[in-house]
């Protein structure tokens, strides 16, 4: 495990107010999801999940076909599709566009894909102003932080944190009432919308048969971002394509329910092409940036490529007992929680943080709530296997490898196993039947020490089961 990963986990666990904030906020989202997916409210919930999984499987299995169809239809409406292989290509495209159009100010709606490629930082580095207009994202931009959660990016910030931040960054009188804080942000952001030359959004779905970008949001800022400025750029991972508009009947039923416990989000926008003759609003130019950034690496692996089915609802984070303890910033990349634990190693390479797939008790709660039925625990297990293969190739972690070879040998030789058990029992303290709080220094090493750092050890029984069985 990297020192950084370990330290961030420790710091988050040690911060009592942060612990309460994470546990409460995720708990609320989790409870709301349970309510709106209950049998008496949504009887076909499990059937919808099965359908969503089948639709995603079919699309990812035929991704080239649907991407080409999407591109043809975007162009038929007068838009343009741009393929980008990585972060640099995305920012180069936007920078070039801004330069050609003489643009200085960009407004953005919430998008994990643009977070993934550090788009704001890259644009600002070249002298452009890029402003987040989702309230949570705006708060984090002022705080110079990355999202804490896929859906609720500022989940870890209390209103008092936000009050401090606004007072300092915007030079306004301190307000702690959430509604008033929202109005402050709104005042600042309205001006930005009116002056911006380019609006950048993400995309929840790309519809192949109609060339449309679908945006799901609650604040209305995505609608302004994509209609007020003259140019709209939607940035989306290639896996966001779905075959037909009617497939949304399945996905929209699941997305808001799984994410926030809403039946539907406040706004669902369908955007296809720039403003047409006779239309009163909409951008003059319409671009869809399709990002790879490691995604095509997953395609050859029939088993693990189901990781690309994700619709970024965040339900797995809210239900995950690990995320609910270590929060979003402990994770080594912008994607956190169970889904982050499986896509980070696959997009970035497993050596990015080899301990990540191991940071799970494999409880399976994530797979149970995933609206597209990604078998996250199965993928975690496969990634663990990949990590061990990499370590073997590179000669790392040799002691552990040896320990498991010995384990396999002992477990296939019952008499050796029994002798080893007796030997261990003979040196282990019996504790007079009581649980053991500490061991003598020479024994309190490695896994024993780690166990004892948090819990007591069971006393060693005087006889193993097999001895008791023989004697009975």
């Amino acid at each position: 495990m990297s020192v950084e990963f370990d330290q961030k986990i420790h710091d988050t666990l040690a911060n009592a107010s942060l612990q309460l904030a994470i546990y409460t906020a995720t708990g609320r989202l989790k409870e709301k999801r349970i309510e709106v997916t209950a049998e008496n409210v949504l009887p076909d919930y499990q059937e919808l999940r099965t359908q969503a999984n089948a639709l995603k499987k079919h699309t990812i299995d035929n991704l080239d076909h649907y991407l080409e169809e999407f591109e043809r239809n975007v162009e038929a409406y007068g838009g343009k599709v741009v393929y980008c292989k990585d972060a640099t290509e995305v920012s180069d495209f936007v920078l070039d566009l801004a330069k050609r159009r003489g643009s200085k100010l960009i407004v953005k709606s919430k998008s994990m894909t643009t977070e993934e490629v550090d788009l704001n930082e890259r644009l600002e580095h070249h002298g452009l102003e890029s402003v987040e207009t989702d309230l949570g994202e705006y708060i984090l931009q002022l705080a110079h932080e990355k999202p804490y959660h896929i859906v609720a990016p500022a989940l870890h910030k209390t209103r008092y944190d936000v009050a401090d931040l606004f007072t300092k960054a915007l030079h306004v009188a301190r307000e702690t009432v959430p509604e008033k804080l929202t109005l402050i942000a709104r005042g600042v952001l309205r001006e930005k919308f009116l002056k911006a030359d380019i609006g950048i959004s993400g995309a929840n779905f790309l519809i192949a048969d109609s060339g449309a970008v679908v945006l799901v949001e609650n604040e209305g800022n995505a609608r302004l971002t994509t209609s007020a400025p003259k140019i709209h750029v939607a940035v989306a991972g290639i896996e966001k394509v779905i075959p037909r508009a009617r497939d949304l009947a399945v996905f929209l039923k699941l997305l808001a329910r799984s994410a926030t416990g809403q039946l539907l989000s406040v706004y669902t926008s369908f955007l296809a092409g720039p403003r047409r003759v006779g239309e009163v609003d909409g951008p003059e130019e319409f671009y869809v940036v399709l990002l790879d950034n490691g995604r095509t690496r997953l395609l050859p692996d029939r088993s693990k490529r189901e990781s690309l089915y994700c619709i970024r609802c965040g339900a797995c984070l809210n239900t995950c007992p690990v995320y609910r303890k270590i929060g979003g910033h402990s994770f080594p990349w912008v994607y956190s929680g169970p889904i982050g634990a499986i896509i980070t190693p696959q997009f970035m390479g497993i050596s990015h943080e080899p301990a990540l797939p191991f940071a799970s008790s494999l409880c399976g709660a994530c797979g149970e709530v995933c609206p597209v039925k990604i078998d996250i625990p199965k993928v975690l297990l496969e990634l663990r296997g990949d990590v061990k293969k990499m370590e073997a190739r590179e000669g790392q972690n040799r002691m552990e490898k040896l320990a498991f070879r010995v384990f396999a040998w002992v477990m296939t030789h019952p008499r050796i196993y029994e002798m080893a058990g007796r030997l261990a029992a003979s040196v282990a303290p019996a504790g007079d039947g009581k649980w053991i709080g500490s061991l003598p220094a020479p024994m309190s090493v490695g896994p024993m020490k780690a166990w004892l750092s948090e819990r007591d050890l069971p006393p060693s029984p005087s006889k193993s089961f097999r001895e008791m069985w023989r004697n009975r």
Binding site: A355, F358, G367, D386, E400, P414, K434, K463, M468, W469
Partner: protein, 241 residues
């Protein structure tokens, strides 16, 4: 099919909690089963599998398949070890059709203890008596991989003198997770403490589960916190009279 059953007590029960295995045998014999213990048994291989050592897990899994090949039915005091055999062995032998056929035959013969009682033996009242207020901890693999939810509760409902109080939330992991418990000890400990808060919220004196590993984690953390709540395997409760 006769009334013969084989015990797979798991390595953890064999080495650390032998009374759980004896209690399970007691209950089964009381119900008229003839119980045997194949001496060659060791472990299901889950520690290696969950740690990413698939070749080593495969070796141990093969040993399990050989040891229990002749058994007609195998009963296991652990949801997690049962799920290893019935839900993960097949993944290990995808490229070995002959072994895979043995695995599929094995999957039909292996039962988690509570499920065996309710589904195969067809009993809910085993004639147990225990004056106590208990709460039940759902082990994650039993709950989510094997779908065990009502069987242990129905069995507990028939124990005379016993009152079951559900904890809230009931389905959250205790934080054990095999090597996770030592690789991420601080995190695992924090998860255990959240579980303990839920347990204390019920006012129960005893935590019952189907998994010795969860019970080791929970009892270890209870004991560390100096709390006077005990843990028991379901088999021990059902053997009480």
């Amino acid at each position: 099919m006769g009334n013969q059953v084989s015990l797979f007590v798991t390595c953890m029960v064999d080495q650390l909690f032998p009374k759980v295995g004896m209690a399970m045998a007691d209950v089964l014999e009381r119900l008229g089963y003839r119980v045997d213990f194949p001496e060659g048994q060791t472990c299901c291989g889950q520690p290696a599998f969950n740690s990413g050592y698939r070749a080593e897990a495969r070796t141990v899994a093969r040993h399990f398949l050989k040891t229990f090949e002749a058994s007609e039915r195998i009963v296991v005091p652990s949801g997690s070890c049962t799920a290893m055999v019935t839900h993960h062995f097949a993944e290990l032998f995808q490229k070995e059709p002959e072994t895979l056929a043995l695995v599929h035959a094995m999957e039909k013969k292996v039962y988690e203890f509570a499920t065996f009682l309710t589904e195969v033996a067809g009993v809910e009242d085993v004639g147990a008596r225990m004056e106590d207020v208990v709460t039940f901890h759902d082990g994650c693999h039993g709950l989510r991989e094997l779908g065990i939810k009502s069987a242990p509760r129905r069995l507990l409902a028939h124990v005379k003198g016993l009152e079951l109080r559900e904890m809230v939330p009931a389905e959250e992991c205790c934080g054990f997770g095999g090597t996770f418990a030592v690789k991420f000890a601080e995190l695992s400990g924090a998860m255990a403490r959240t579980k303990i808060e839920a347990i204390l919220g019920t006012g129960a004196n005893t935590v019952v589960s189907l998994d010795p590993s969860c019970l080791m984690q929970i009892q270890g953390a209870l004991s560390r916190a100096g709390l006077n709540v005990r843990t028991m395997h379901l088999a021990e409760v059902l053997a009480s009279r």
